[in-house]
């Protein structure tokens, strides 16, 4: 198995975690759809990272400009909210909702917060009318958003690691890397860091 294959394999695990969060969200609220947006830290854009229900086949990767709709406000303010009867007024069929191909009657959204910053938004469209109580709905959504935060953070961490790896000179060439490592190992009889030695042993096994 190549290094690249292993990477994409692990990304599948991170994605599944996020996907399972939106699946749970969709089912507990018996809703039409549930999704997690990532807030692009550079542009503020909202990017669909996981979708369950309406739009799940085509929405992942779709972007909306910063400040769009209720999800945009939730990302900016850090406050969860529910908007009901949005579909009762025809004008609501606005840009973003229309472009997703689904115009909801109700939207619940909660910020996904990690390490003091809002990294995403969890959104549930058209939850069922079953009586759970609106305050209970907000609390449950907030708890699921906390779970989504871990999933999203793992995904971001993985992507960061991927982009940082080739930055080292000759990072892709294993021989250059080995030469650099060899140059760092003390030659005067001094002991190398035991953790580093263990990791090298693991690396040798993996390269086998």
């Amino acid at each position: 198995m190549s290094v690249h294959e292993r990477r994409s394999d692990s990304e599948i695990t991170e994605r599944r975690l996020l996907q399972s969060t939106v699946e749970v969200a969709r089912h507990v609220f018996a809703s039409a759809a549930a999704s997690v947006f990532l807030v692009d830290q550079e542009t503020g854009d909202l990017v669909f990272e996981a979708v369950s229900g309406a739009g799940e086949r085509h929405l992942v990767g779709t972007r909306f400009p910063a400040g769009t709709g209720i999800a945009g406000w939730v990302a900016a303010s850090g406050q969860p909210m529910i908007a009901d009867e949005v579909g009762a007024v025809p004008q609501f069929a606005h840009d973003a909702a229309e472009s997703t191909g689904y115009v909801p009657r109700s939207i619940m959204a909660a910020p996904v917060i990690r390490q003091e910053s809002c990294i995403g938004v969890l959104e549930v469209l058209d939850r069922s009318a079953d009586w759970r109580g609106d305050l209970a709905d907000v609390d449950l959504l907030a708890m699921l958003a906390a779970q989504a935060a871990y999933g999203l953070e793992l995904l971001l961490r993985l992507r960061r690691a991927e982009t940082e790896l080739p930055a080292a000179p000759g990072g892709d060439d294993v021989h250059v890397l080995l030469q650099r490592i060899s140059a760092r190992v003390p030659r005067d009889g001094g002991a190398a860091d035991p953790t580093a030695l263990k990791l090298l042993a693991v690396a040798e096994e993996l390269l086998h």
Partner: protein, 300 residues
């Protein structure tokens, strides 16, 4: 009751820092008495004219009270908002200056909050400062700049249906909230119902508001388990939204403007109150605090 202003409503005395010291030789000069209320007679009727105040001309209507809404901007033309005194925005420049702008709201949230305040205090003066502009997280700097402006401008009430999770803003925000409190500018902030630490709603110098799920806009409760001190209507609230629309919305950010509106009613009837006194009156007039022989007790 005296007709003169109580001491805290008069001109501030000029003095050097630390001179005079804060202590007072009360044996030589008795502290001035102020005949306002010892609060034993504080009821909802006393506080704002009772719950029928809306139509009743003797009740408070928010007249003369200036409220600043720090949010996404306010659509000044929305029928539920009923006009703005001023509309401003924290400019996206290096100094984050606060400048006048068109009374628009691209999101709808600020318009919703302003509409709630107006529905409770019809004669109140509303000013909007847009601090949430582009939906990007980390706009704490704009929030600080907008809040500093509002405190300097001397608004009676500032509605903050937002919070920040970034601890880098904590010391400055804390200092600003305390300064507002002593300048008779009361900050009303929505509580955060997520398992994260955020502010300014957690500060004792502000009034923090979470939601109850009853439909009456004038029903509010004192919460004996702070930091959320009061519970106000926050579930399925009919609110103004962008482009002249109306939706029903749930969240603590809609509970806070209910308390802001009620505070405006109280202040328009009792202009002499400081934030400390107003908070006490708000507590005494809460729906779950009732007078009894032994003082205040909480209804079962």
């Amino acid at each position: 009751m005296t007709v003169t202003q109580p001491p805290w409503r008069r001109e501030r005395r000029e003095h050097f820092p630390g001179v005079p010291a804060w202590s007072l030789a009360t044996s030589r000069l008795a502290p001035e008495e102020f005949g306002v209320s010892r609060l034993e007679d504080v009821t909802r009727e006393w506080a704002w004219g009772g719950d029928d105040a809306g139509e009743n001309s003797t009740g408070g209507d928010g007249a003369g009270v200036r409220v600043c809404v720090l949010d996404t901007g306010v659509d000044g033309g929305h029928p539920r908002v009923g006009g703005l005194e001023r509309s401003l925005v924290v400019a996206d420049d290096r100094d984050l200056t606060v400048v006048d702008c068109d009374p628009v709201d691209h999101v709808g949230h600020g318009t919703a909050c302003a509409g709630i305040i107006r529905s409770i205090a019809p004669a109140v003066s509303l000013t909007s400062v847009r601090v949430l502009t582009d939906g990007r997280s980390g706009s704490g700097a704009a929030l600080l700049a907008g809040l500093r402006w509002a405190v300097e401008e001397g608004f009676d009430l500032v509605n903050l249906s937002l919070s920040t999770t970034r601890s880098q803003y904590l010391p400055e925000l804390h200092e600003l909230a305390d300064r507002a409190y002593f300048r008779r500018c009361l900050l009303v902030a929505s509580a955060h119902n997520m398992p994260v630490v955020s502010f300014p709603w957690t500060f004792s110098s502000v009034i923090s508001v979470a939601s109850h799920d009853e439909p009456d806009p004038m029903t509010y409760y004192y919460n004996p388990a702070p930091p959320a001190e009061f519970l106000a209507r926050g579930v399925r609230v009919p609110v103004a939204w962008r482009r002249g629309r109306e939706i029903r919305s749930t969240g603590n950010s809609f509970a806070a403007p209910h308390i802001t509106g009620i505070c405006a009613l109280i202040l328009s009837r009792h202009r002499w109150m400081t934030p400390f006194q107003l908070k006490s009156v708000l507590y005494l007039a809460a729906s779950n605090v009732v007078a009894s022989q032994g003082g205040a007790h909480v209804r079962a």
